[in-house]
């Protein structure tokens, strides 16, 4: 699985990138994914600047259907649904990116060291990974919400820790294959320090599966955040989160059904975008992953 990729990155880096991009560009589905992801990023980064205050209440127009003034209608407190969607995108993006970063920052070094040095460290780490895997994500989230109280911080920690085992496993698996490569042996013969070998040769060659993993983890985190917030275990009102918006929508399903459509559609489109992008990247970067 790994050896296909384990060419030293030092040779023809930009050539390889251009070739991969050309292969990627030809496919319609990954390109559609790229467009959806770009749209999501734009909405999260620019949307809040273009829309009004997501907490401004207009008591003359509560639960108003979509109109010129409020293109997506208003909620029970007369808040503009479009503004809340845009700010909610920012919360989703934060949850997705921060939790994935957290898992990578902690998981990659552990995977590198465990896979490179083996000995007693490797079995200990893998046993711990097994234990972590024995806790379903929601149990983590529930435990954290019980200890530190429901919040975005709790969501990011819970999502980050639940992704940790996958990151450690992937990194370690790659390292196990890479450390047997000739160029690593050459570097050792050359007298390179372990640190140099790990950072210069091993880490760059682990990057493809980790990038693919990120495209799996980010949408999972977006769904995870909205689910926890929907349950009341995540982001707390009045902060606009797509999950929180849907909690409100459920209460007014029969009088204001439009409130239930947009937040859910946004979650689905953002997730779909990352999934399509991830499928495409996997095909291009990791052709032997056996899909």
């Amino acid at each position: 699985m790994a050896d296909a990729l384990a060419v030293p990155v030092t040779t023809g880096r930009s050539d390889r990138r251009r070739r991969l991009w050309r292969r990627f560009r030809r496919r319609p589905m990954p390109m559609a994914g790229l467009v959806l992801v770009a749209g999501f990023l734009l909405l999260a980064l620019l949307g809040p600047l273009l829309t009004g205050d997501p907490s401004a209440q207009d008591y003359t127009a509560t639960l108003a259907p979509p109109s010129g003034a409020h293109p997506l209608g208003t909620d029970d407190l007369g808040r503009d649904a479009l503004a809340r969607i845009a700010h909610g995108a920012q919360v989703s993006l934060q949850a997705g990116v921060l939790s994935t970063l957290l898992a990578m920052v902690i998981g990659i070094p552990i995977g590198l060291v465990a896979g490179f040095y083996r000995r007693w460290l490797d079995p200990v780490v893998m046993r711990l990974v097994d234990v972590t895997l024995a806790f379903p994500f929601l149990v983590f989230a529930v435990g954290l919400a019980a200890i530190i109280g429901p919040s975005l911080k709790g969501v990011v920690l819970a999502l980050g820790f639940s992704q940790l085992p996958a990151v450690i496993r992937i990194t370690r698996g790659e390292v196990l294959a890479i450390r047997e490569m000739d160029y690593v042996a050459a570097a050792i013969a050359d007298g390179a320090t372990d640190r140099h070998i790990l950072l210069r040769y091993v880490l760059p060659n682990c990057s493809s599966p980790l990038i693919v993993q990120a495209t799996v983890a980010i949408p999972a985190a977006i769904i995870g955040e909205s689910t926890l917030s929907f349950l009341g275990l995540g982001v707390q009102p009045p902060t606009p989160s797509w999950g929180v918006m849907l909690t409100t929508a459920q209460q007014y399903l029969d009088v204001a059904p439009w409130l239930a459509i947009w937040p859910g559609l946004m979650i689905a489109l953002a997730t779909l975008g990352f999934n399509l992008l991830g499928d495409g990247l996997r095909d291009v970067l990791d052709p032997r992953s056996g899909r």
Binding site: R127, D130, V131, A134, F135, P136, F137, L138, V139, V142, G143, A145, A146, I147, P150, R169, P219, I223, S226, T227, F230, L231, G232, L233, G243, L246, A249, Q250, L253, D254, P257, A260, P263, G264, I267, A268, L269, T271, L272, N275, L276, R291
Partner: protein, 319 residues
């Protein structure tokens, strides 16, 4: 094979042991006196004392841990701070509801996912394949709770075919029970159907191009027999693996689904317990979830070894 099962069971026991330590320490990591925390905020000093004594919270930590394991093994999980009922009794009432929901959802997932996966693989590149693949991608991307809201909007609010929420025990009225469980089971099952569809499709595609299938065809076996007896059999390992990997998602999904449809199961108990800071219940649901998770994973590993002799003989597992 016996050796394989013993080794797997051994590592399951180790995982449970470490998990029980984590849960034990978790409740003691909370700020404040654990006896007060477990008794609830409105408890009288006498009740706090009783709990401190019952769980030996004034003893050293290792002694407390041994006590905790002993109490748990004898079925004493403490009392709910909400209504003072024994947690074990609450669990006995709530668990069957969730098990019924999960079983129905799995049924939906297996019937729809496996069926669609087989059809998609056999009609590769034609309309049924595109339809199934498209729904598969959509099913992966749509969160359970939104699907639930849309389902309520369509079937309960607009069409008025099904009740929007509520629960009737199966023993009381099977018809009413099923009528109220259909929508939740469909909602919970859809995501798994999508995953199962994708995995079955790719496993079937792999199997259909394998040499043994070509041999079966050249022997003159009917297409139904080729697919049923050869290709499908070899795709079953995929189904088992997917079900094992998705168990955590099934538990989370059940929690969400019960919340939307107001079903008084294990998942609703979990959320309510966190929202009311009912720590004895939180501790118990986390423990039960981990035990169930570890047990099912063990069963999946064993089933996997039965279906795939290569694993059994080499003695390794996946990962």
């Amino acid at each position: 094979m016996v050796w394989f099962i013993l080794r797997r069971a051994g590592s399951a026991v180790i995982v449970l042991f470490l998990a029980s330590i984590l849960i034990f320490l978790g409740i003691r990591a909370l700020p404040g006196d654990p006896a007060v925390v477990m008794a609830g905020e409105e408890a009288s000093p006498a009740m706090v004392e009783a709990i401190r004594h019952e769980f030996g919270l004034d003893k050293p930590l290792p002694v407390q841990y041994v006590d905790y394991v002993g109490q748990t093994l004898s079925g004493n999980l403490g009392r709910s701070t909400q209504d003072q009922l024994p947690v074990a009794d609450i669990l006995a009432e709530r668990l069957p509801v969730t098990l019924e929901l999960s079983a129905l959802a799995l049924l939906v997932a297996i019937v729809v996912g496996l069926g669609a996966g087989i059809v998609a693989a056999m009609k590769r590149g034609r309309l049924p394949d595109y339809v199934a693949t498209g729904f598969g991608l959509a099913g992966l991307s749509v969160p359970h709770f939104w699907l639930g809201l849309l389902g309520i909007l369509l079937f309960a609010v607009t069409l008025r075919w099904l009740p929007a929420s509520g629960y009737v025990p199966f023993t009381q009225d099977p018809g009413q029970n099923l009528q109220r469980m259909i929508l939740p089971a469909l909602v919970l099952g859809t995501g798994f159907a999508a995953i199962l569809m994708r995995q079955t499709r790719s496993a079937m595609l792999g199997a259909l191009s394998a040499d043994y299938v070509r041999t079966a065809r050249s022997k003159g076996l009917s297409e139904a027999k080729v697919v049923g007896a050869h290709a499908l059999r070899n795709s079953l390992t995929t189904v088992v693996t997917v079900l094992g990997l998705q168990l955590g998602a099934l538990i989370s999904g059940a929690v969400v689904t019960e919340q939307i449809f107001v079903i008084p199961g294990f998942g609703k108990l979990t959320v309510d317990a966190v929202l009311t800071r009912n720590y004895p219940v939180i501790q118990a649901v986390v423990l039960i979830t981990v035990i169930g998770y570890v047990l099912v994973n063990l069963l999946v590993d064993i089933a996997y070894a039965f279906l795939n002799p290569r694993i059994r003989l080499s003695g390794g597992g996946h990962g």
